[in-house]
């Protein structure tokens, strides 16, 4: 009798073990070829297929904008959201089934597909000089490869924002305009017995991205955008002394006594979405929180009802002493890239490139215009208009560096090593060495 149950167990268990262990597939993608030349513009067939990473729910505004385009031109446009865009666009392009236009959530992939000769340069299709004039400075750099332009930005987001309680200025604090003012503001807040920063980086398996954002902000301010580009493209090693210095600058902020709520340990265990909440307690548990514009969705419901009336925001200042002169902005954005050259696609690209593109999208929310000429009164929410203004005032725009690095670094060791550094397990040098070591290829 004792054998009956075990025997039964054994059978399922052998199968399950093996199935669990062996469920690995690697699928190869052969390399493409050919030079990048848009060739002759063909006549359009009256319809355009777009593939993008913007999910269905967020695409309401995009579809409204596309409808305006269809009403104007009579060209039918179908937007298909992809939940696994990175894989899907590669598969489609390699399989000869590319959409007419793809909306890339980050420029790294545009670079990859341009290197393999699959994207079309827009120079032969639209007036790209006009784009350079109307877009936020620095934005076009990310899709300019060998002096040719491979994308039209259609949406951006801004990371370099510092949120404060509404009564911030009434408490006697002055909104800092330079990095040094920000640093002395910290001391001022501490002197008043308050806590300067709320900082939470816990995000389950993704813990660490908040720290890497901080390091990127600091590299951008301390060393400037050109150095930043060389860093993200691995032209200089990750353990360059200047990067180590930037990591230590972040460490100085986090480890400064009483500077961050809960200290270094607190930043590692506080979920990033909960971390801004002390801004809204009475008295505030902290005075400043640096986070991208999406963080408002994590604010308490009653705060969200009237953002502009409940919270203040300023751009993370630049002009670091001995560093970059000006205020750089870190962010993300979607880029429209062409895979077909016909009259329809040209018309739609021209539509995307117009400074007032997205007025419909601005009304539905969750969107920031990449154009400095966009009319901010279009935004339905005054807080978004305020952020858009900060973005338009920026001196240069750079993409989130961890998105530009190989995933093993940008979504791997950069995160984990920053956790180890903040947790006191490694020095900045050791962490940077380990990241450099992990940068394959």
């Amino acid at each position: 009798m004792e054998g009956a149950i075990p025997m039964h167990v054994r059978k399922w268990q052998i199968g399950a073990v093996a199935a669990g262990l062996l469920a690995v597939t690697g699928c190869g993608v052969p390399g493409g070829g050919g030079g990048n030349d848009a060739g002759e513009t063909k006549d359009g067939d009256g319809s355009i297929q777009i593939l993008g990473a913007i999910p269905e729910g967020e695409a309401v505004g995009l579809n409204a904008a596309l409808k305006t385009f269809t009403d104007e031109t009579g060209i039918k446009v179908t937007y298909t959201p992809s939940t696994d865009f990175t894989t899907e666009i590669r598969t489609k392009v390699k399989g000869g089934d590319a959409p007419d236009i793809a909306l890339f959530p980050q420029p790294g992939l545009v670079g990859d597909l341009t290197a393999s000769g699959d994207t079309l340069p827009l120079d032969d299709m639209i007036d790209v000089d006009k784009l350079d004039d109307s877009m936020i400075p620095g934005l076009m750099d990310s899709v300019t490869i060998d002096d040719k332009t491979y994308g039209v930005p259609i949406r951006v987001s801004m990371k370099s924002l510092v949120w404060t309680p509404k009564n911030f200025e009434q408490s006697g604090y002055k909104t800092p305009t330079t990095w040094d003012e920000l640093m002395s503001l910290q001391d001022q807040i501490i002197a008043k017995g308050q806590t300067p920063w709320c900082l939470g980086a816990e995000a389950g398996a993704d813990t660490g991205w908040v720290f890497t954002d901080w390091v990127e902000e600091i590299v951008l301010r301390q060393e400037g955008p050109e150095f930043y580009d060389k860093w993200t493209s691995h032209e200089i090693p990750f353990n360059d002394p200047k990067i180590v210095k930037a990591i230590e600058t972040m460490g100085d902020i986090i480890n400064k006594p009483k500077n961050v709520r809960g200290g270094a340990d607190g930043t590692l265990s506080e979920p990033f979405g909960d971390s801004p909440l002390p801004l809204f307690t009475d008295p505030p548990g902290c005075e400043m929180h640096r986070q991208a514009n999406f963080i408002t969705t994590f604010f308490p419901k009653d705060v969200q009802k009237d953002l502009a009336g409940n919270v203040d925001v300023f751009a993370l200042p630049g002009d670091m002493k001995g560093g970059y002169e000006g205020t750089p902005v870190l962010g993300a954005g979607d880029m429209a890239t062409a895979f077909t050259n016909d009259t329809d696609v040209v018309k739609l690209m021209e539509f995307f490139a117009k400074p007032d593109f997205g007025a419909e999208w601005a009304k539905s929310g969750g969107w920031l215009s990449p154009s400095v000429k966009f009319d901010n009164s279009n935004y339905s929410d005054p807080m978004t208009g305020e952020i858009a203004k900060l973005l338009q005032d920026a001196d240069t725009f750079r993409f989130d560096g961890s998105d530009l690095m190989p995933a093993a670094v940008g979504a791997g060791t950069f995160w984990s090593e920053m956790n180890a550094y903040v947790g006191g397990e490694k020095s900045a040098q050791e962490a940077a060495d380990a990241i450099e070591e992990s940068w394959r290829g």
Partner: protein, 331 residues
Amino acid sequence: MSDDPFLKIVNGLVAIVLGVGGTAALYWVLNFLVGLLPGKWDRRIKPYVFVGPAVLVVTVFLIYPAVMTVIFSFADANSINWVGFQNYVDLFQDKEFLGTLFNNLLWILIVPAGSVIVGLLVAVLADRLKALPERIAKSVIFMPMAISFVGASTIWGFVYATRFAQGDRQIGLLSAISTSLGFEPVAWLRIQTGSLNDLLLIIIMVWLQAGFAMVLLSSAIKGVPDDTVEAARIDGASEVQIFFKVVVPQIWPTVIVVFVTILILVLKVFDIVYVMTGGRSGTSVLANTFFVELFEFGDAGRAAAVVVVLMVAVIPVMIYQMRQFKKQEAR
């Protein structure tokens, strides 16, 4: 497409009916077709007809992927170019990976033994209770078995949670106890001294598996003939002697089965580590490293190499278990 729970249930039922019914129909049709053959061929072919689909499924879903995995482990991240043993060389030169192997060893050493000991203890002690308390005690111990690994990790996440900001109340059980005793708050899952964070994760698995061990061992203990125990008692053996010299030898095959079953489960441990720490602070295990390499870093070559290492580690255990299985069948 639809999120309607009713439609989901209908979908599920249809899938079950079609799956089970389809399989039954397939065997029935094959059986019928073979039955049309002359008697001698009918008898010759029939066994293959019945075992054939199973062999086919195992080949397609187990053997083929296994072979491909081994092949891909010698290729690069996108499985395009051969790189020889480079993936393995990289793995074994990576200090983190060696730490991962050590962690797996810790899990292997502690979880099966721990679960068997706890399960056996509960089984033996509960056996001496009256029927109702025995049932209640066993149900409580068995209950975690019904919780998924992810669910259990979420629960234990609250046990280990710590708040550091001044004035915040501790929401984690462990931190609430330690701070009320006057200790400073600590981040439990980041304490690498003595692999404490690994041990805290391992406890979760023991908590989950002790019930499984208990149920099987309990039924085995109840299967021990009373006369053997009574004979020992008459001969003047102490209770401890009876347990170790009379009961344990008789339930030993079950102990082995439970041990090996949990051992194999532990080799594949992933969910707990992924949810609790994501492998940070030196807590990664092979399955987590594999997941991260393939799905986060997109390095199919190295991910395959990790799986091959895991496979090599599992094979001896499987062989041992098959032998045990055969031995038991022979008895």
